[in-house]
């Protein structure tokens, strides 16, 4: 199962989906596009554990974290 983790007021909201399920995969891709289109940054981890920002939906990613656009504080 792959997971999309969206940071929000509750800490985060997690969406798990089976990459073998075409409908779930489509929904995950739709969610990815909606979030990144709204300014969220999507990040996965490399094999060594380093974060990698991803601009396109990667169906092979085990875990993708989304955080809102950054602004000066």
């Amino acid at each position: 199962m792959a997971t999309q983790i969206i940071m929000d007021l509750n800490g985060d909201t997690r969406h798990k989906f089976d990459v073998k399920d075409a409908k779930a995969l489509l929904e995950a891709e739709r969610r990815f596009k909606a979030l990144t289109g709204a300014g969220f940054t999507a990040a996965t981890r490399s094999a060594s554990g380093d974060p990698v920002v991803t601009r396109a939906f990667d169906p092979t990613a085990d875990e993708t974290v989304f955080f809102p656009r950054l602004v000066g504080g």
Binding site: D8, G11, P68, G73
Partner: protein, 135 residues
């Protein structure tokens, strides 16, 4: 007659007790929610920190990252803002930086977003950041 009255009262008391229990549970969830949110954010952060960063965070409530463009070191202290310190070659504070996710998030989420930004898009992160003199 008395048995009927007792039965009715018993029913009312049961419903009252049920309502009280429901209210108590709701109050407990409301009371604990901020802690659960904070904990969820910290759990996610801990999953994403390297072993070295995690050890630093557990020991000092901060961890250090390397900027992907300049190789500079930054210390991210536990917090929701004004919590990033750029270090000089002697690991002394040089400049404070403040950038945060646009939406209000718990500290763990904020620190994770800052770590990812500095490690993958240092210039982009600093371009939106405000700086300050660290104490």
């Amino acid at each position: 007659m008395f048995a009927t009255l007792l039965h009715i009262v018993n029913g009312h008391l049961g419903r009252l007790l049920g309502t009280c229990l429901h209210l108590a549970r709701s109050f407990r969830e409301w009371y604990l929610r901020p802690n659960l949110r904070e904990q969820r954010g910290l759990n996610l952060l801990r999953e994403w920190l390297s072993q070295e960063q995690l050890a630093q965070y557990d020991a000092h409530r901060y961890f250090e990252v390397t900027g992907c463009h300049t190789g500079k070191r930054y210390r991210i202290r536990h917090g929701n803002g004004a919590n990033i310190i750029e270090l000089d070659d002697a690991a002394m504070p040089r400049t404070g930086w403040c950038f945060v996710p646009r939406d209000p998030l718990v500290a763990g989420d904020v620190m994770l977003a800052q770590k990812i930004a500095l490690e993958t898009d240092e210039r982009g992160a600093l371009a939106v950041a405000n700086n300050f003199t660290p104490r």
